[in-house]
């Protein structure tokens, strides 16, 4: 199967570029980043605040079934151009990772397809490498949590 999502992390650089082509019109792809209740569905996190405007800010929070906070993040929006781009910071709370800068660019490919390019800039090369390594632990955690949630539903 073709890998739709690509991650480009050049050695020694403190940034990564994530690209993805969607079978969605540009407007729908952008909408997925704008409507809090939609963001909640695909990000799997609660959206406490999402102000889609220059100098706006956002806050995400995820709790487990017991109500413990497992993920909390926030950031500030620097640029917001509908159907084109979002520039924002992202900071994971209760972690030692410094804030990162994200450039999201939305492109129309055809009437029914679109592309997202997400450039993430980290404070240092080491921060980037640590963050890339994180899902090794964290991603597996999420997969397990998701699996657990599905298993719980079957009960």
């Amino acid at each position: 199967m073709e890998r739709k999502t690509k991650v480009n992390a050049e050695n020694g650089k403190q940034e990564i570029v994530i690209t993805r082509e969607f079978d969605l019109p540009l407007e729908l792809l952008f909408k997925a980043y704008v409507e809090p209740e939609i963001v909640e569905q695909w990000m799997g996190t609660k959206v406490l605040k999402l102000e889609n405007k220059k100098h706006g800010s956002y806050q995400f929070k995820t709790t487990d079934a017991q109500g413990n906070v497992v993920f909390q993040a926030n950031g500030v929006i620097h640029e917001f151009v509908p159907d084109q781009k979002i520039t924002r910071t992202f900071e994971m709370e209760n972690s030692t990772f410094p804030v990162q800068l994200e450039f999201l660019e939305f492109e129309k490919l055809s009437a029914d397809t679109s592309k997202l390019t997400m450039q993430i800039v980290y404070k240092t090369v080491a921060d980037r490498d640590n963050l890339l390594r994180l899902p090794f632990a964290y991603g597996i955690n999420m997969a397990h949590d998701r699996l657990q949630a599905i298993v719980n539903k079957l009960k």
């Binding site: 890998r3 739709k4 999502t5 690509k6 991650v7 992390a9 994530i18 993805r20 969607f22 079978d23 969605l24 019109p25 729908l28 792809l29 909408k31 997925a32 939609i38 569905q41 695909w42 990000m43 799997g44 972690s95 030692t96 990772f97 997202l116 921060d127 490498d129 640590n130 963050l131 890339l132 390594r133 994180l134 899902p135 090794f136 632990a137 964290y138 991603g139 597996i140 955690n141 999420m142 397990h144």
Partner: protein
């Protein structure tokens, strides 16, 4: 010794995954690591021992304290370490796509 199996056993436990997560960006003493968990300190020590045995963690003794840190070499050896990161985003974007198709 089947190293691969050992590593996967090591990361199969949520506490051990949480320890790897803690150490992803810093060096910590056993005490500081244990302070992050409700579990008894000997239990955390056991987890640290398992992670050290399969070389995911390394440690240095400084005076009375033992400092733990990730062994990036081993982390890289056992897997293409970008793949889980890519997979995480791929899953997320697949979800986005399926959610948005309902709005078409």
């Amino acid at each position: 010794m089947n190293l691969r199996r050992d590593v996967f056993q090591a990361i199969a436990d949520p506490t051990r995954r949480a320890i790897l997560l803690l150490l992803a960006s810093q060096t910590m003493t056993a005490g500081a690591i244990a302070a992050n968990f409700d579990t008894a300190r000997p239990t955390v020590s056991k987890h640290l021992q398992i992670l050290t045995e399969c070389e995911l963690l390394k440690y240095e003794q400084t005076g009375r304290e033992i400092y733990y840190h990730l062994n990036p070499k081993k982390m890289k050896e056992i897997a293409d370490y970008i793949e889980p990161f890519r997979k995480m985003w791929d899953d997320r974007f697949n979800k986005l796509e399926s959610v948005m198709k309902k709005y078409k």
